[in-house]
Amino acid sequence: MQNRNILIIGGGIAGMEAAGQLLRLGWEPVIVEKNERLGGHVAKWYKLFPDMMSAADLVQTLTDGIKEATVYLKTRVASMNRLKDGYSVVLSNGVSLQCSAVLIASGFHLFDAAKKEEYGYGVYDHVITNADLEAWFGGAPDNRVPANPGQVAFVHCVGSRDLKAGNAQCSKVCCMTAIKQAIEFKERFPGAQVWCFYMDLRLFGKKYEDFYINAQKDFGVHFVRGRVSEVSEDIDGRVVLKAEDTLAGLPVKLRADLLVLMSGMLCNSDTAALASMVRTEVDSDGFLRSRDNIYRINESRREGVFFAGACTGSKTVPETVAEARAAALDIHNYLNGNA
């Protein structure tokens, strides 16, 4: 009789959605999550664009869908061996199991903004990242956010499209996130002046352009095309940004009460180890390599190993969820011999 177990590495939204779908298709997913709770990055987020849906609600919906799945928290995959039809897996908590397919949904990690030394993250008092701001929106106290900010600057592409930061790729979601957060910020502090420093605005998805227009029209967010190159601090502890307004062709300087760095998405640091465990490849961008990038994004080059979500590249939430569903169906078809 066929083994019904399917190993899902990563309990973020991709892993959870895939597990929910696989349950419905009659399989027995086993989620292995290294953190102490499910939901991944989305669980730490406040609201999701473009509908401003509560991230917590989404995670709750997904959690409800996987009640019957086996979930191991604070657990990693220790080793994995290929069998004739499936994999034999040993987990870091001592559990060993056999599964007939593996879904890697290990996601991404946020670029460590301190690595961009010139922005002074961790050095100056009022420099935070997009994730910090989102947590603050969600109610977590953060004394770096001033009580009554006059000016706020968002710097796009921190750790994205930057060879020096080790990531030449566009993280694709940060432009939209910056605009979303700029609007949310304006909603809380209508008197604040919000400045977005961008290289290119990449607003490609449904309703994204509307957000841009709203930010300009209804919220008066200022957009400057130029990459901030250095940040200093004045006597009052405010951050001083230097950039070039490349459209006006002028050097510009801004004193801000808060600087928000839009950290980009990098492949998770343990992905390479996972890849070598199942003997699949890492792509030139550091993410996992799919069979192809058009029709078989969910499939690895190894039989029985599938991908979902940001482990193959930066993705938005709807893209990740859709991919997880597709992966579940791919696995179902593969195990039924329909692939």
Binding site: L163, M199, R227, A243, E244
Partner: protein
């Protein structure tokens, strides 16, 4: 020519059909990295000389690409290397400037 009360000045628009890219072409050969510039402006913002001069590597590259003169900007570079430190595309801007100075021919 009769006086019409106004005169026509030379058009300030650049004709992309008839650009003289001799200098830029030579620069591309010496420092191929120049091709990857995405005009983000990091170099100009970081430039030490920009405080007291109009120096901007971004403008320099764009002006060359549009066949314009860049002598004035080039003349204030101190080669401090900040621009090459911040360039997200890893362009060797110091070598770019040194190469340009070498091949520069005064009109």
């Amino acid at each position: 020519m009769p006086d019409f009360g106004f005169s026509l000045s030379k058009s300030s628009s650049v004709s992309l059909d008839s650009l003289d890219l001799g200098l830029y072409g030579e620069l591309e050969r010496l420092e191929p990295g120049v091709k990857t510039c995405m005009a983000c402006g990091s170099c100009s913002a970081a430039c030490t000389a920009s405080v007291w001069s109009g120096m901007s590597v971004r403008k320099l590259i764009l002006n060359l690409q549009r066949g314009k003169d860049v002598e004035k900007m080039l003349g204030s570079c101190m080669l401090c290397g900040k621009c090459s430190m911040v360039c997200p595309r890893g362009i060797n801007t110091r070598h770019l400037i040194l190469s340009l100075c070498r091949i520069y021919k005064k009109q």
